[in-house]
Symmetry: C2
């Protein structure tokens, strides 16, 4: 039992990107800060999300490239490289986590391992194994507790055949076949990764297309690429039952697709579906916090319904990106420390790190058409880009959507090599009002993948160079 | 013997980047165009420069990564992958060359194979095997004939032991040891490539550092990385003699370094030193063309000393980049067709495609210090970048130089993964006056390599997040 209440200038629940960034920023303003973490320092991003998946995907990319050369000889080598990739993933996670640990220590941030729960809107208790070990108080509290998967009946995880992304990241043996339930970003990333290592992959998506939040054209083209690689895509699909009889080492899924029922059998089923705000054990009601659609409700300043209490990152909804969490955390901290800042979600890129990469910023073609009287679209395929030819990475294209009159860029959508880096050219242009004519006025190095962005801008006025148009 | 003189709106000598771009741009203005090419369509860039080297370097990168994993087992596999890389290079070259051939045909551009020489400043004859096959006339002539290596005595190429880059690109067997004479961009690219495939490489440079045109810090760090990989670097070195006795299968070089003489033996010597404008056989005097330091002299509009005659690309000096050639060619064509355009070399990036990559735009630290009263420097090492950690590509850094008062960006220098793409963020910012504060206001996707650019901007005001400062 904690004897006294400790006071801090700022208490943060969760040490993922939103939490640790908020702590570092507030420390620069000489605040005393406590960060309460239930599980691993660094949260989902560092331990079970961004970093480990990118480490795996990077090794997957190398192996994929190599497989195309004929240098991969057999299943044993593939399995062995898969294990190597797992090791690299573990190394990467441990490096970034210890980096964050050092930063928090440098800034004298008090890191408390345990479960936070509200006693009032300004008091928190921290429990370990159900027992209160400390009590903390502050006028400023930031909830950055992340998100957790929503269980999709009938797919209850059993850690053996029905897996979540955590278990998928820790698989040590490659299955023969795998269903991936959820065809959004994470589903596609896992799908390409396991496909690279020879697993027979089926992606099952309830919407009419994979990557349903991305520009339709990118999504349709991506589907074509996945199919070409032998990944089976099942859209408009509802899983109505899972047969997990004990005698078998596989799961049989009953799927209804446009009224037709099918039964498919998989050795593993990976569920990467919806997520909800991780408010478990928070006792949110004691702080009079309002929840909305499973997330903590916040205003444009990241303020919750309780005075002095803010939320940022996955727990506040609106997508699960670490950089969205960074921006929200910065906004929250500034407001908590007396500034007045509002969130602007318009120029936040979305990235897909599978092979090939894809990325977006701004409006999709459909959104732009709905919002603007007249738009222009410039496209350039990587097959016309010398650097892409030299790297044997010719699938994909850059697509720029601009407003017709002044050439303002409304959206950039990239499918192909370096998409997750090139997208920042679009983000910079959009954020700082650099239009099509200004892009055309730049000199892009040859040969680079970035030239495809330049050529797409040229294509807005039919001036692209390195391509034949039909 | 050609019977009559053919008239064109524009005659272009050379079909490399400057030549083919000028042709495509002029064709859009309904000009009749002849392009005269002595050797391969596409010039150095497509056949012996940018494209083939990038194809080789890309495969080298894959093999280098793989070598670090322990999956490369023996010398035979390495030799076999080297041959695979050569094949990919040939494929890439043939794809881009046939692409350009189709573009020229689409635009009804007359492509003439032969040696061009001036008869007067508006008349050219085209010879094949010494015989005049055609005579052409135009009020507008663009010389885009490229550059050729300057022979460095005592290193006369013999195609066996003393090679130029053309021969190096066509080597089918890996030598045991290789000297690379010239430690500029091409020397370093070839050096890392052959090192990757197990060749014992020594880079010999006459200046006091490799990459002498790049920012000193990048150059010094690059040297460290090369040394770590086992590449020997000899700077301040003069080759005074080459012993090529017939009995031996190697070349012995006598090198003087800071007054000390040394004799080193290599199986192959690759000379990638200086280049001069390729004016061979042009009969430049007949058009009253002025040459300067081995290149055709041009003004800021790319106009030569002869009326109606312009030059662009390598033949006009000022560096050997295809994208510089593109910009010069565009400038020349606009001026030839009645506009008034001047060259602006300030925002042209320089790229190094070896592993790791490096790239620059704008002023070096030394140049900025000389030109501005007060500058600020922001740096961020890739070791603090999650994406770089995940990809095991942690060597290098982003360095941004800004003017102290208004935060104007003066130069960006990148050593590390994706440098040749990330540099365009710097180029865009500099060209369109996006300063440090505006960069800090952007949202960069996590985890991406581009975040290192963002963090370097933050570091200008000591606000970088993911790094411990000493």
């Amino acid at each position: 039992m904690a004897s006294s209440i400790e006071k801090f200038d700022l208490i943060i629940i969760g040490s993922g990107p939103a939490g640790y960034l908020a702590a570092i920023l507030a420390a620069r303003k000489s605040c005393s800060i406590a960060v309460i973490e239930r599980a691993e320092l660094g949260g989902t991003c560092l331990n079970r999300g961004c970093i480990p998946t990118k480490a795996l995907l990077h090794e997957g990319f190398i192996w994929h490239h190599l497989a195309g050369t004929g240098f991969v000889k057999n299943r044993e080598e593939t399995a062995s490289y898969f294990k190597y990739a797992l090791g690299k993933k573990t190394d990467a996670v441990s490096q970034v986590v210890s980096g964050i640990r050092r930063l928090l220590a440098r800034d004298s941030i008090t890191l408390i391992q345990g479960d936070a729960s509200f006693v009032s809107s300004r008091t928190l208790s921290v429990k370990r194994e159900g027992k209160v070990i400390r009590q903390l108080e502050s006028d400023r509290i930031l909830i950055a507790s992340g998100a957790v998967p929503v269980e999709v009946p009938p797919l209850r995880k059993d850690g053996r055949r029905i897996l979540g992304s955590d278990e998928a990241l820790n698989m040590t043996e490659l299955p023969q076949s795998m269903a991936i339930v959820g065809g959004g970003k994470r589903g596609v990333e896992f799908g390409t990764f396991f496909n690279t290592f020879g697993v027979s992959v089926t992606v099952i998506e309830k919407e009419s297309r994979i990557l349903p939040k991305m520009d339709r054209e990118i999504s349709v083209r991506y589907r074509g690429l996945l199919t070409k690689r032998g990944i089976k895509i099942v859209t408009d699909a509802q899983i109505v039952a899972a047969d997990l009889s004990k005698e078998k080492d596989s799961a049989a899924l009953r799927i209804i697709q446009k009224g037709k029922e099918e039964k498919l059998e998989f050795q593993k089923v990976l569920v990467v579906g919806d997520r909800r705000g991780n408010t478990d054990g928070l006792d949110a009601a004691k702080a009079s916090l309002t929840l909305k659609d499973g997330f903590i409700a916040v205003d444009s300043r990241m303020k919750t319904s309780a005075p002095g209490v803010y939320a940022a990152g996955d727990v506040a909804g609106k997508g699960f990106f670490a950089h969205k969490a960074f921006l929200e955390a910065e906004t929250a901290v500034r407001n908590l420390l007396g500034e007045d800042r509002q969130m602007d979600y318009r120029f936040i890129p979305t990235c897909l790190y599978s092979y090939p990469e894809a990325a977006s910023v701004g409006l999709t073609e459909e959104e732009a058409k709905a919002k603007y009287k007249e738009i222009k679209i410039g496209k350039f395929p990587f097959v016309g880009c010398g650097r892409a030819v030299a790297a044997s990475e010719q699938d994909g294209m850059v697509k720029i959507i601009s407003e017709a009159q002044y050439g303002e860029i409304l959206g950039v959508h990239i499918l192909g090599p370096r998409a997750t880096e090139l997208i920042h050219l679009g983000a910079m242009a959009m954020k700082h009002e650099i239009g099509i004519e200004e892009i055309k006025d730049m000199t892009f190095a040859h040969p680079t993948f970035s030239e495809a962005f330049f050529e797409a801008a040229l294509d807005i006025s039919d001036e692209a160079i390195h391509i034949m148009k039909e």
